[in-house]
Every structure is written in structure tokens, then in C-alpha cells.
């Protein structure tokens, strides 16, 4: 058995009605497990970019790419894992923090270069951006204060400029 690696795939698709339904429908019909899927318009309003994060061995990934390639709306597929790329995810965490914990939360947040985006009597909301490892570390630290709510954008990624 090959190891189940994390793969980040970037898919350019026509910015049409229902494209997301077709792509996600193909994933579920063929039993691919997707960690996250993000979609948004690109610099060209007719084209959207999807960032798909999937775990699986090489053959699962190859089959996923081939099946994506058969969708009429798919324009181009890039397996970013094959090259150098930048990945980011945005997470907002509502932390239980009254007056006495605020300082501690701000301190931890600053270590992760997170921003405080909202504050109330009993809680604070912080916004943290980064790659998977940093996000995980930040969430783990915030658990100590007690997390009331958490929302993740899913990962987006872009290839690095050629040297």
C-alpha cells in the first residue's frame, strides 16, 4: 500500500451555473474523499479556480485527475503538490475570553500574527491566516481558552513563480 499523501489540486473551470455541482457530484459518485474545496472567480470573469485538497495514494490521485479531465467545464488541472506552491487558509475562531483572559488571547494571537476582528463581554473573535500546520497550532492553543465557534475557509493555493 502506498502512503496516503495530501494533494493540493488547482482546477480552472468555466464560470458557469452548476459547475460546482458537477465537480462535487463527480467526487461523491466516484467515492473520492475531499478534505476541502474552495472556488472563486479568477482575473478572468469567465473562469473560476477551484482548490481541491484530497488525501489518497498515487493511483487515487491519478484517477481523480483523469475523471476531472472528462468534465466538459474543466479547463485545466494542476497538481500543485508536484511543484512549489503557496497555500493559505483563513480561519475565524470565537474564543471564550472575558476581561481577565483578553491579554492572554491577544498574546497568543500575536504569536500567530492573527488579528482580533471582534470583541464582546465574554468572547473574542480572532482571524488567522496560514498554511495547514500553523492553523492547526493556533487552534490547539486557542482550545485552552475554550472555543465557542470556529469557521474555516478551506485551503486556497497558487504556484510559486518559476525561478
Amino acid at each position: 500500500m502506498q502512503p496516503e499523501n495530501k494533494h493540493t489540486i488547482s482546477v480552472l473551470v468555466s464560470n458557469h451555473f452548476g459547475v460546482l455541482a458537477k465537480v462535487s457530484g463527480m467526487f461523491s459518485a466516484r467515492g473520492f474523499n475531499i478534505n476541502s474545496l474552495c472556488v472563486g472567480e479568477t482575473e478572468n470573469p469567465e473562469v473560476s479556480r477551484m482548490t481541491v485538497v484530497v488525501r489518497g495514494d498515487h493511483s487515487v490521485l491519478a484517477q481523480l485527475i483523469q475523471q476531472l479531465n472528462k468534465l466538459v467545464d474543466v479547463i485545466e488541472i494542476q497538481d500543485l503538490t508536484q511543484e512549489s506552491f503557496v497555500e493559505r487558509e483563513l480561519v475565524m475562531i470565537k474564543v471564550n475570553a472575558g476581561q481577565e483572559q483578553r491579554g492572554a488571547v491577544i498574546e497568543v494571537a500575536s504569536i500567530f500574527r492573527a488579528k482580533i476582528v471582534d470583541v464582546g463581554q465574554h468572547c473574542m473573535t480572532i482571524e488567522v491566516t496560514g498554511a495547514e500546520g500553523k492553523i492547526r497550532a493556533c487552534i490547539d492553543m486557542m482550545r485552552a481558552f475554550g472555543i465557542a465557534e470556529l469557521v474555516r475557509s478551506g485551503e486556497i493555493a497558487i504556484s510559486r513563480a518559476a525561478k
Partner: protein, 609 residues
């Protein structure tokens, strides 16, 4: 292509017309002469469009065949498509009309049949409001069609219909669904007579496919495998038929004297009466075809996909062979089994290129072919020839002697389907129509109707089972309504034979839900009620041949029910999750090794089952 189009301006270009009329005009422009479909509220304007088109074009009317159920329309369009090679068109209403087409759409996807299903939809303003006869057709069909369009912008209507045809027939063919809101059908606009939607990715991949011609080096590598082989075998699938590559495959087999097996879908790609054709492989393939797969040292797959009915245990399938794979779909290469050489491209073009580059390649596989001829003789298809009740295989053998490889056959799904596949000869492609991948019971009758419409001068025979025919029995009347001379041959063994066979082998003969001996239907009376002038039943073997001859010779629609032995099982059988070496040949076909014989032995149940 654009310049050619500009030169030949559409005679109706610039005219104002309704969306509905544009749809019909584009359908006709795409070469369609028949629409199969059922009207209803949300598709009324387009049906009106057919009526008006036929008023204007009395000399060359658009044929309309109305089924009993929209599922029938879908399978008729599929049958029409399979025999003609053209795109079949079904036109149905919203909601239930569309959902009744889900089965034929998925069936066409699984067997790669080019189909257009145009579904009426509630007006755009009502979409999503749970309106009367509304169904989420776009989402439902997205999961099972090659592509789906929901027309949101009426200005794109004309180009969308044209594009749908292009998608259905290009690359690996498949069904395309158009979800067509009623207000778009009623909208009036200017017909341009040209234009497609932009599909940059899809077009780029098609171009790649066209440009990826076999290089001299790649062909040389292919022939290196051939020259190093002692026992090569071609494994041809439905892709050969879809690509109209039958002539090329025949020439390839003949030139290099390489014997061949075909899949269920590939039957007819080679002349089944040819010595080098070993007929069907797989779960119910001929013993000699499966032995050939076991023995070969080189397997050349063409338009076939190693599905589970062929390669139940991929690792053990053709275990001693190098595998070469030609397919139009890159996703099929290595999907099931790793290959030693492959080429992605159109089968006809690729085989032609191989023939060109292979000129002068000398092969000598006489020892292998004569060994196979011996296997073919020693392990030929056989059945209980001393049964008291008529054996279904005997009926197939007899009708085959009458039609001699020249008739079109359709089937339902189950034992009768396998008997027909095993015993009937086909000299040409596009004459064997069966639901291969989806295994849809009820396929046979509507497919036969579509085939007869597509080939009015051919004999079209629906070999059906008593379970399968019930699924779309309403279409019996469609045969007589349109006076289509379809021949329906019902093999009635009072039950769902294939399931009974599995229950016998794997469930200790607990016949849960499959015994139909208490069912009361008199099929002959039913046929008579539907207006069949020829409607008969045969119960005695002595009546069989004469009745079959009269049945085939009958003018107009004909129905014949033959009561057959429910104990006649389909053999050979490679059980689910088993490899070819575990093939059971049953009590009447000689097995190569003595162990795998005897009629009533139980197959082992495996995890895969």
C-alpha cells in the same frame, strides 16, 4: 471550420422564430429524422414546434414516436443511436417526464451511447419554487449524464442545442441533457443558424486527442511486444463499435493472424462466424474464450475497460500476459489493471496507424491459433439436448439458424440476454443491442422499436425474458401503433432466471421474490390486446422450428412466447470475485480440467460477492 460555415449561410438565418422552433430546427440540422418522446405541460411549445415544422416540410417530416412511458423514449433513442451511429433524441416534459429518463440516461452513459434528452422545465421564474411538475433535473442528471445544460439565457439556446450534439458524439460518446424552461421555448428571437458555446478545456482535449497520432516509435514498441509474443490475443470492446473501427479491427486481426475475444458490448465488432473470433469472454463468456485469456501471453485491449464482469479479479486476469491498451478515454488506462503499453486515441485512427506502421511485420501464430481451434472444438457451447422442456439455448440456436448473423437483436437483462450473447451470430457491428454496463431490465423492447425505426428494412428481434419484458410492457402497443415489424421473442421460464441461478448457487435455493409461477399474465392475450396479429405460444419442442420460421417471416409486429426450462442455467460461469481458473463450465460443456464440472455443485461465496 468557421470559414466553411460562413460560406454556407443557413437558409433560415435572420428569421424571427420561437425558441421551440429553434430547438427543432437545430435538431433537424444535426441530421436527426426521428424524435422519441412524450408531451406534457412544460414541453408543449416544442411539441407544437414539431407539428408546425411538419406542416412546413410535408415532404421531409420529422418522425415522432410516442412511447407509453418516457423511459421507453430514452431507450428507443438509444436503440436508434446504436444501429445508425447517429445521435438519438428524446423529448420529454418536466418533472416526472424527466425523472423517467434518468435510467436511460445513466444506461447510455455507462455504455457510451450518444443521446440528447431535452426536458421541458417550468418557466425560469418558477424554478426552485416546487412548482407543478418541477424536478431538479440539472442536479439529478449531472450525476449520470456526460453533460447537462440548464438554459438560463435565451440568447444561448440555439448554440446550446448545437453544442449538446457536439458533446454527445465527440470523444467518448455519451448522453447530454438539456433542461429547457417553458418561457425560453415561448421566447421569440432571431435565428442565426450557426454558433457553438465556448468550451475551451473540452475543445483543447479533443484537439489533443485528434493530434495524438500514433508515432512510428510508439507503433514500433507495439510491434516489439507482438513479435516477442507466442500467444497474442485481441480483447475488443464496445469502443470499437462506437468508433466505427470494426473494419480496421478485422483487417488488423486478419493481417497479423491474431485471434480475438470480444466483450458483451463488443459483439459484432468482429464477424462471430470468423475462425479467429472466439466470441465473448468474461463471467458468461465461452469456455474457449476464457481459456484463451488464461493462456495468452499478450493481451491487446481495444476500446474495452476491464470491467468487473470481465476482470473480476484484476490481478489474476490474463495473469501471464503483457497488456497493451488502446482507448479513447485516458481515464480507462490503468484504471483497473496496470498496462505495459498504451495509446489514447480514436480506435479506427489508431488501428489504421498501426496497420500502416506495421507493414512488413511478419507474424506466425499458427501454433497458437491451431491450439485455439482445438479448444474451440473441444469446449464448444452446449446445453441439455435431451430435456423434456424446451431449452432456452435451443431456441437461440434455432433462431440463429434462421437469421444467419444478419438480423438485429436486442435483449432485456438476465439469462436470456446471456443465452442470446452466447448463441447468436453477428456478421456486422451495430446489430447487437444490449444494456451492458447498467444491466437495465426492460431495455430490449423499446431499444428494438428505436432500432426498427433506424433500420426499417432489417429484421429486428427483441429476445426478452418474462421479468424484463414486464418492465416496459406498455411499449408492446407502441409496436402496433406505428406498425413497426419488431419481432418479440419471449423466453418465459416463470421467474427471474438469473437471480434464481444466483439464489441456487449462493443462497441455498431460497427464491426470495423471484418465482413468478403464480403470476397470472397471459402474454399472448396481452399481445393480442395490443393489436399483434401474430401472437403465439410454443410449449412443445416439435412446434418450435416451424413457429420460429413463421414468426420471423411474419409481416408486421410479431409476438412469440416460448415456455422454457427454468432449470437451464447460464454456463460457463466465472463466479463473482473469482478468476478464470475457477470457471465452471456446467454439466454440458467439457471443462479443460476435470475438477470444474458437474451441474449442481455450489460456487464458493467470496468477499467480493
Amino acid at each position: 471550420m468557421a470559414t466553411v460555415k460562413a460560406a454556407a449561410r443557413h437558409p433560415l438565418a435572420g428569421q424571427k422564430m420561437r425558441g421551440a422552433d429553434m430547438v427543432i430546427q437545430v435538431v433537424v440540422d444535426e441530421g436527426v429524422d426521428t424524435i422519441f418522446g412524450y408531451s406534457g405541460g412544460a414541453i408543449l411549445p416544442t411539441y407544437d414546434g414539431i407539428f408546425k415544422y411538419n406542416e412546413r416540410n410535408a415532404a421531409q417530416k420529422l418522425n415522432l414516436i410516442v412511447p407509453a412511458n418516457e423511459q421507453g423514449a430514452g431507450f428507443m433513442a438509444a436503440g436508434y443511436s446504436r444501429v445508425t451511429g447517429k445521435v438519438g433524441v428524446a423529448l420529454v416534459t418536466s418533472g416526472p417526464g424527466a425523472t423517467n429518463c434518468v435510467t436511460p440516461v445513466r444506461d447510455a452513459m455507462a455504455d457510451s451511447i450518444p443521446l440528447i434528452v431535452i426536458c421541458g422545465q417550468v418557466p425560469r421564474a418558477a424554478v426552485g419554487t416546487d412548482a407543478f411538475q418541477e424536478a431538479p433535473v440539472f442536479s439529478i442528471m449531472s450525476a449520470c449524464a456526460k453533460h447537462v445544460f440548464l438554459i438560463q439565457n435565451e440568447q444561448e439556446l440555439e448554440a446550446t442545442v448545437r453544442t449538446a450534439f457536439h458533446i454527445a458524439r465527440s470523444g467518448r460518446p455519451g448522453p447530454v441533457v438539456i433542461d429547457l424552461p417553458k418561457d425560453v421555448q415561448n421566447w421569440e428571437g432571431v435565428f442565426t443558424g450557426e454558433g457553438h458555446l465556448s468550451m475551451p478545456g473540452y475543445e483543447q482535449r479533443l484537439k489533443q486527442l485528434r493530434d495524438s497520432r500514433m508515432t512510428k516509435e510508439k507503433a514500433a514498441a507495439f510491434f516489439e511486444f507482438v513479435k516477442n509474443a507466442q500467444r497474442p490475443l485481441v480483447y475488443a470492446g464496445g469502443g470499437v463499435i462506437n468508433a466505427n473501427a470494426s473494419a480496421e479491427l478485422r483487417e488488423f486481426v486478419k493481417t497479423f493472424q491474431i485471434p480475438a475475444v470480444t466483450t458483451l458490448m463488443g459483439i459484432g465488432s468482429l464477424d462471430t462466424t470468423d475462425d479467429l473470433c472466439l466470441h465473448m469472454l468474461g463471467m458468461h463468456g465461452t469456455a474457449y474464450a476464457n481459456y484463451a485469456v488464461e493462456d495468452c501471453d499478450l493481451l491487446i485491449a481495444v476500446g474495452a475497460r476491464f470491467d468487473d464482469r470481465v476482470a473480476g479479479v484484476p490481478r489474476q486476469f490474463a495473469a501471464n500476459a503483457k497488456i497493451l491498451h488502446l482507448d479513447i478515454d485516458a481515464a480507462e488506462i490503468g484504471k483497473v489493471k496496470p498496462v505495459d503499453w498504451h495509446h489514447v486515441g480514436d480506435a479506427a485512427v489508431s488501428l489504421r496507424d498501426l496497420l500502416t506502421h506495421g507493414k512488413g511485420v511478419k507474424t506466425d501464430f499458427k501454433a497458437w491459433t491451431s491450439q485455439l481451434m482445438k479448444l474451440k472444438a473441444a469446449h464448444k457451447m452446449n446445453y441439455n439436448r435431451n430435456g423434456e422442456i424446451i431449452q432456452p439455448q435451443q431456441v437461440m440456436e434455432m433462431i440463429n439458424e434462421i437469421t444467419k448473423g444478419e438480423a438485429i437483436y436486442t435483449t432485456g437483462v438476465g439469462q436470456h440476454q446471456m443465452f442470446a450473447a452466447q448463441f447468436i451470430d453477428f456478421k456486422q457491428p451495430r446489430m447487437w443491442l444490449t444494456s451492458g454496463s447498467m444491466g437495465t431490465m426492460g431495455y430490449g423492447l423499446p431499444a428494438a422499436i428505436g432500432a426498427q425505426v433506424g433500420c426499417p428494412d432489417k429484421i429486428v428481434i427483441d429476445v426478452d425474458g418474462d421479468g424484463s419484458i414486464r418492465m416496459n410492457l406498455g411499449e408492446m402497443e407502441t409496436c402496433t401503433t406505428y406498425n413497426l415489424p419488431v419481432k418479440i421473442l419471449l423466453l418465459n421460464n416463470l421467474g427471474d432466471g438469473m437471480v434464481v441461478q444466483w439464489q441456487t448457487l449462493f443462497f441455498e435455493s431460497r427464491f426470495s421474490g423471484t418465482d413468478k409461477s403464480l403470476h397470472k399474465k397471459d402474454f399472448v392475450k396481452s399481445a393480442e390486446a395490443d393489436g399483434f396479429e401474430f401472437a403465439r405460444r410454443v410449449e412443445k419442442e416439435s412446434d418450435l422450428r416451424k413457429t420460429l420460421e413463421e414468426f420471423i417471416a411474419a409481416k408486421g409486429p410479431a409476438f412469440l412466447e416460448v415456455m422454457t426450462d427454468k432449470n437451464a442455467f447460464v454456463y460457463p460461469m466465472v463466479g463473482p470475485g473469482m478468476s478464470y481458473k475457477d470457471m465452471i463450465t456446467g454439466p454440458y460443456i467439457e471443462a479443460r480440467e476435470a475438477k470444474a464440472n458437474g451441474g449442481d455443485e455450489k460456487l464458493e461465496t467470496t468477499a467480493a460477492f
